[in-house]
């Protein structure tokens, strides 16, 4: 019922918008701001499709109220410019593509915080990003390739 003015940065650009208290970040991004690269999958924080970076950390946009983002720096797939993207293409890191934004945003957060992440750390970190085509080997190869290219 209450409305809230929130200010944050989205992929480096300032956003100043008023939202109802119950607005979810995933809906704010997709419906109010036109950033449809962030997908809405399970809606309960399990599948990883809606992964975004909040101050550099991966989170589920379906579990965050937009009001929680006041003052934060948000990065979505639209703001990604990483060797990971080329590596996903080279290694066939996707099939149908629905999980790809979340996989990339999560992997980018890992390589930013832990550039030398081990293969086991990569697998643990990406565990919550589900690929229903089961293209995990290609995804894992792509992330390892991007890590090793640094």
């Amino acid at each position: 019922m209450s409305e809230h003015r929130i200010r944050f940065t989205l992929n480096g650009a300032p956003v100043d918008i008023t939202v109802p208290a119950e607005r979810l970040l995933v809906d704010l991004l997709r419906e109010d701001l036109g950033k449809t690269g962030t997908k809405d999958g399970c809606s309960v924080g399990v599948c990883g499709l809606c992964t975004v970076q909040v101050d550099g950390l991966p989170m589920s946009a379906c579990l965050l109220l937009a009001t929680q983002l006041d003052g934060a720096a948000i990065r979505t797939i639209e703001g990604l410019a990483s060797p990971l993207q080329e590596a996903f293409i080279d290694e066939g890191g996707f099939q149908c593509g629905i999980c790809t934004s979340g996989q990339l945003v999560a992997a980018d957060a890992l390589l930013r915080t832990k550039p030398k992440a081990t293969d086991a750390e990569i697998s643990d970190w990406q565990m919550g990003n589900l690929c229903r085509c089961t293209g995990y080997y290609g995804i894992a190869r792509a992330i390892v390739k991007a890590r090793d290219a640094r």
């Binding site: 019922m1 209450s2 208290a21 119950e22 992964t51 950390l57 589920s60």
Partner: protein
């Protein structure tokens, strides 16, 4: 999601005053991972949500003379990375690292986890074994609640309307104490445990057990201390017979429910198996 009012106090006093205005219709929100799902599914319908994210003093994690203090707004990720947590008990840090996925760990908080009171959660089990005490405050003052008195039933705690969890305090461990947390995950690694076991053991120079704590998750409607099993170990050498006997007593203390992670009988049997494994790890 049903519409609601949202307030975001800047200070603890302001938060407690806002909570006191209508304690039955106001829900405090820490990270929001549990609350947002419950609101989406229309399982709870608060008129007002009290966002706690600006209460920075509740995020502190630190060692004191009286032990370790964990702020209620500390995230699982922050706790898993904390040197102070690792120094107190490495198994406590790995317990926080074992929760769900990295996304949940970075958003979800200690206080939210405890107040949500899901009996299959990981942190309450290890915190119980470490003799954790929750500290809650309302406008009328502060209250210390040993964790085994905090959990009442599934999703139900002994927190009163108008009370906020501030922190968890862990007393110093006996010298040489060893701690472990074992999580039985037959399906996927990001799942809730079918059962889980935390154990803390200290022995004297002759190998006799001087301190034993065993706590179980997923084994009842609340996280559980296996007190008879603990008593059976104290004063004894931790040989195979002592460990097996304690595991049998721990299994007998469980009151599991049938659900998709296993039947009650299966969970009870697994509680014994995993208690034995946990004790072998630290004995």
């Amino acid at each position: 999601m049903r519409p609601f009012d949202y307030v975001e106090p800047e200070t603890l006093d302001e938060a407690l005053a806002l909570l006191a205005e209508d304690p039955d219709d106001t829900l405090a929100m820490a990270g929001g991972t549990a609350l947002v799902i419950l609101m989406k599914q229309d399982l709870i319908r608060p008129g007002r949500v009290l966002g706690l994210r600006r209460l920075a003093q509740l995020r502190a994690i630190g060692a004191t003379d009286e032990g370790l203090v964990l702020g209620a707004m500390a995230t699982h990720g922050g706790l898993a990375r904390s040197q102070a947590v690792r120094a107190h008990a490495a198994a406590l840090a790995s317990t926080f690292a074992a929760v769900a996925t990295v996304r949940i760990r970075e958003q979800a908080t200690l206080g939210g986890n405890l107040a949500h009171a899901d009996p299959a959660q990981d942190p309450p089990v290890t915190l119980l074994a470490l003799d954790g005490v929750a500290v809650a405050r309302s406008r009328f003052g502060e209250r210390r609640i040993p964790l085994d008195a905090l959990f009442v039933d599934v999703f139900e705690t002994s927190l009163e309307p108008g009370e906020l969890l501030l922190r968890v305090e862990l007393p110093p461990l006996p010298a040489g104490a060893r701690t472990t947390y074992q999580k039985f995950l037959p399906a996927t690694r990001d799942d809730y445990a079918t059962v889980s076991v935390a154990a803390v053991i200290a022995r004297d120079a002759s190998g006799v057990c001087t301190h034993a704590r065993i706590a179980l998750g997923g084994a009842a409607t609340v996280p559980l201390r296996a007190r008879e099993a603990e008593r059976s170990l104290t004063g004894r050498r931790l040989d195979d017979a002592a460990i097996h006997e304690a595991a049998v007593l721990a299994a007998a203390a469980t009151e599991p429910i049938d659900d998709l992670r296993g039947s009650a009988d299966y969970k009870r049997a697994m509680a014994g198996v995993w208690t034995e494994r946990a004790l072998r790890e630290v004995a």
